[in-house]
Symmetry: D2
Subunit: 360 residues, 4 copies
């Protein structure tokens, strides 16, 4: 406001600003445009992490750092370069690569934070969710919604790595998290192909009569690659046959849902899978809320805030709020995505903008 008036500080004004500080006050007028920008201007920045690098570092951690009670997980978070000093990939989301050596166990615990795992390669680990062992294999999405006990154990001699997604930053920021330690070893060391949750819930359009109460998070712990793959293939095939099925030309996509409501899998995290035909390109989109993407298969590029990045299998990138993005597929191109969409939608802040080609 001094700036606004252009006047020199008077002793009274100096005293006033001193009194603000002494009395735990701060004027709006000196920070209004930072606090309330014309459009979202996130501190978080777009960034790409290479899977090769992540995996190499995770592997070395596997040799050098034990996993166990206290640290709980051999998980290494992606740090958004715009949010230094944290391990946050966006203001709301955590994304880590987790690594478990042959026959290792990550002990059981539970927390308010919602979590999932997505497997870009490998197999051999079972995550045990409330005593239900859930196989982890390439292409699978595995859920551990808030306050479910969970641990992981590697049933093979081969190490395995995957990504974890959680709402740790959001929970930490809003002070909503509780944590409780559980069993040192997983409570069920069996390694079934199919979890009990899937046996009850993974039947299209069917709901057990013993499970008629709606749940805030999906009771289906595992979304298998075979189903995701088929759903995406069918969308493109329908498009070929001339029927509406895709998001836009050459761009198939599904959202993972809670079968008790049809809504998002967890109250704070949305997850989706996208498939682009070779040669296709998505429209440029600005969206409120932040997303993390991982390439599952194929290669292409992402245009992120005007800068193009090449992407290969396993590479991860982050799209902060309102940063325009567009994907281009060189080969057939499969990508997993998660974001804070449910937070944005439930609190009424949803906004999307697709500039017309002339605007760009």
């Amino acid at each position: 406001m001094q700036e606004m008036t252009g006047q020199a500080d008077t002793p009274e004004l100096v005293q006033l600003y001193r009194d603000f500080e002494v009395n735990s006050m701060a004027p709006l007028w000196t920070q209004r445009d930072d606090l309330m920008p014309m459009v979202p201007s996130p501190a978080a920045v777009p960034h790409v992490w290479r899977w090769k690098t992540l995996f190499d570092i995770a592997e070395r951690s596997g040799e050098l750092v034990p996993v166990g009670r206290g640290g709980e997980r051999r998980a290494i978070g992606l740090v958004n370069p715009g949010l230094p000093g944290t391990a946050y990939v966006t203001p709301t989301l955590w994304c880590a690569i987790q690594y478990l050596g042959g026959y290792e166990t990550a002990p059981e615990h539970r927390h308010s934070q919602n979590a999932f795992r997505f497997v870009v390669e490998g197999q051999g680990v079972w995550t045990v969710v409330n005593g239900d062992p859930v196989r982890m294999s390439r292409g699978d999405l595995l859920l551990t919604p808030g306050w479910n006990f969970h641990g992981h154990h590697n049933d093979t001699a081969e190490p395995m790595a995957w990504i974890d997604g959680l709402d740790i930053p959001f929970s930490n920021y809003t002070d909503v998290g509780f944590f409780e330690f559980g069993s040192e070893r997983v409570t069920d060391e069996a390694s079934p192909q199919t979890s009990r949750a899937e046996r009850l819930w993974a039947h299209p359009g069917l709901r057990p009569l013993s499970g008629l109460d709606d749940k805030i998070s999906s009771p289906l712990s595992a979304y298998r690659w075979e189903h995701t793959d088929r759903a995406l293939s069918e969308q493109l095939a329908l498009e070929d046959e001339g029927y509406p099925a895709t998001v836009e030309q050459g761009h198939a996509a599904i959202r993972f849902t809670n079968p008790t409501t049809g809504g998002d899998v967890m109250p704070t995290i949305r997850s989706e899978f996208h498939r682009l035909r070779a040669g296709s390109q998505t429209a440029v989109r600005h969206e409120v809320g932040s997303s993390v993407w991982q390439v599952f298969e194929g290669s292409g590029t992402v245009l992120l805030g005007g800068v193009e990045h090449r992407l290969d299998k396993g590479d991860l990138f982050v799209v902060p709020s309102w940063v325009p993005w567009s994907l281009r597929a060189e080969t057939a191109f499969d990508l997993f995505r998660f974001n804070d969409g449910p937070i944005i939608d439930r609190l009424g802040f949803t906004r999307t903008y697709l500039p017309s080609k002339d605007d760009r």
Copy 2:
């Protein structure tokens, strides 16, 4: 009320009752206990129809009665003996056996009434829902929610019969129905294994990004037997392994749902599938609302208002509101059920009563 007072009718009273009539009025006090009974006392009665009889009659209709514009369908409704003069199986529900000869077509039309088909045996017919051909095979539930164009055509030389369920009585009673004729022949005579609706929607827990708007009825036109069967088998297997999964000991059941909401497939009709182990028996239940059941496989009995009926494959029975029912399985026993549960639930009239064994 005269009864209440025990007095002889005075001329004034006679005149009063005459004036009620002349002026389109009727007193509550003479009919209160009929209109507002202590518990529901339906005019509809429990009844069993034999599949053998129904099929034989349908077959003869196939020989004697053409199908086509005007009559629209070779469908023969089950008449509840307590509702004579109608073709209503319950006050809210219609249930018919429909029969289509080799290469016959039932023309397209649409109506506000919600409809489904359930196939207890046979195959070869495709129902075309808004231009999407949907194969009909044993064990499948096929939906045609209100105001979707639909017709059926038999792609084979063999006749086929199935049951239709609709809310015709409810719609007729409440005066909500619209009707529109469509194409004389089905608009797509293809006979694919899988409908386009299934290709988009029949993936467990997955939703196309092109279909994020919730719908009042399920967009999934077909619920295939293979999924229903597997879901029920898994519930019994989980029970065997000691986990909660069934409704009660030996009694597995699923509800068919709208994947956009997790709720019932259509706003007026609920549908379920039940499986009992050989030798098991369900608790006696009183429920508000009326149900129709069809035996899909196996044999057993139903206790309906205290009377036991033997049941074999294809047999249908009706349970009017609040009539106590219990199933007993001689062999493994599979039954399809539909009822007016969504009407009851959405309007706040839900009530269930399980008498303790001592009460019975």
Copy 3:
């Protein structure tokens, strides 16, 4: 279908139709166009009842017929001439004039059926809802949602009459009703100006912290005329000032709501109040569902299915489903309306049609 084929009945066909009947079956094709008309074609017909007549007959009933246990209420239902043999004003709704002599009591009971009272003139009666005495005065809407005990007592020497609205026909038809007798006299004979329900709930936009659970029916037992009147006056005043507030030019209206949800007051019954400026006229409307109107003040006409009826204070009329209606106000014209809108809306049958002027 015989008609369709134009052929004479063969012995086989005669036998077939006989077998339908013997086996509790009925063909769709002979009744399809009655069961499923092109547009709703209700049995119920438009009709007008004169308040003067109703009141006179109610008064004579007051002299000749006692009120008490068994008959329960001195209520005389309006019989729709298209639904003879019932006391139904529409297929779903009951409307009666109820009359209570000086110091009389209508005993307490409860039932699943939802009920309200609306007072076109008079005062002096308290309806006691779950032990809470609720004053009844001109212009007030008083609720007794399903399964709340209620009785009425006249605290004065003067008789009083009002109208009752219930979902008795709907409940009877769908077999959902339970009934229970309560106290012979009302459980609280106090006659406060303001009920406890109002003291808790009748504060605009405010909700007691002790009442945060949503309820299927409104917890507010009384909607007072002073509020309704003011709301309608303000709408017309805003219109005068050039702001959008009315339904259409000269036509103000409010809906009574459940403050816990903002939705209808009860799960089966909608109620509204309409005010027309002198000289104004509403557009012609076709609506799915049936309505009952009562003139509260002023005079005018209603065009009902093309026939015009004059209306004065207290007169009631019924609009069956899809019958076009339009109101014309001679003087300032106030009308109360109730209908089965929540049934229609919740079950997905809502449809409205306003013919353009050229169509009429």
Copy 4:
């Protein structure tokens, strides 16, 4: 993790940690217990601000700092001492004292952030919300939900101060905010007693038929003190008469609601008013989410995390997440409260704990 192993750092480990940093990664194991505490352990701390001090400083700002385009408002935020460098009273909420001199105007703008004003004393200002002038008087709650244009102007020669509550910290943190400048002067300088929003919506249980679409925020811009006061008085009177109405003995409370849904007034901010009888005391409560309270009238104390603070009219205090609080009333004690309850509830993090007396 070094701690976990107790081993000295090897060169490989040093290199690993260096590579984490270089590659924008950070291990979970060194920060897990900070990120995911056993119970919420907010950085924000309990704190009390004195109204006398706030008002004095605001008054001096009124003399020294102009109000106008750019700074937009003469609002001074309360800085939580645990969140230095911000102007956040909690991680999610902003609370400021705003001051407007005689005949001054704060220009119009709109933003995604949801806002309200609460008036502890004074009068004379109108806030103009989307062109609708809303009087501000002692005890009133005034809403400006996200993306509504709003400005304020003082219609008198006397200055006026009030508190603003917004979700600025939440919006800033999650990067969801848009901002747009509007008119320099308010678009309607009239000073009516009653806003158009109130004329349409402030009628208990009534909804305009022209406003049947639900809204994410309340369409009622003003909640007047006379209604709040009466609602609270009635609760205590009902308690006196022996009926359940209060939250606990001697503690009346209302929540301000959106009349279209019965839910919170805005998607991110809950507001309530509490009244304690002289001498009464609330149970100790731990709640997830953060609250700000302002004393409206009377005096008493608050026990905040075990420390007792005296409170007088206008004093504000903050309760961070999970910090136990209890109020004690010396005189009759009225308090306004707002918090981030809708965020907590809609995202599934709600938890409350009332220690038994023995636990304390």
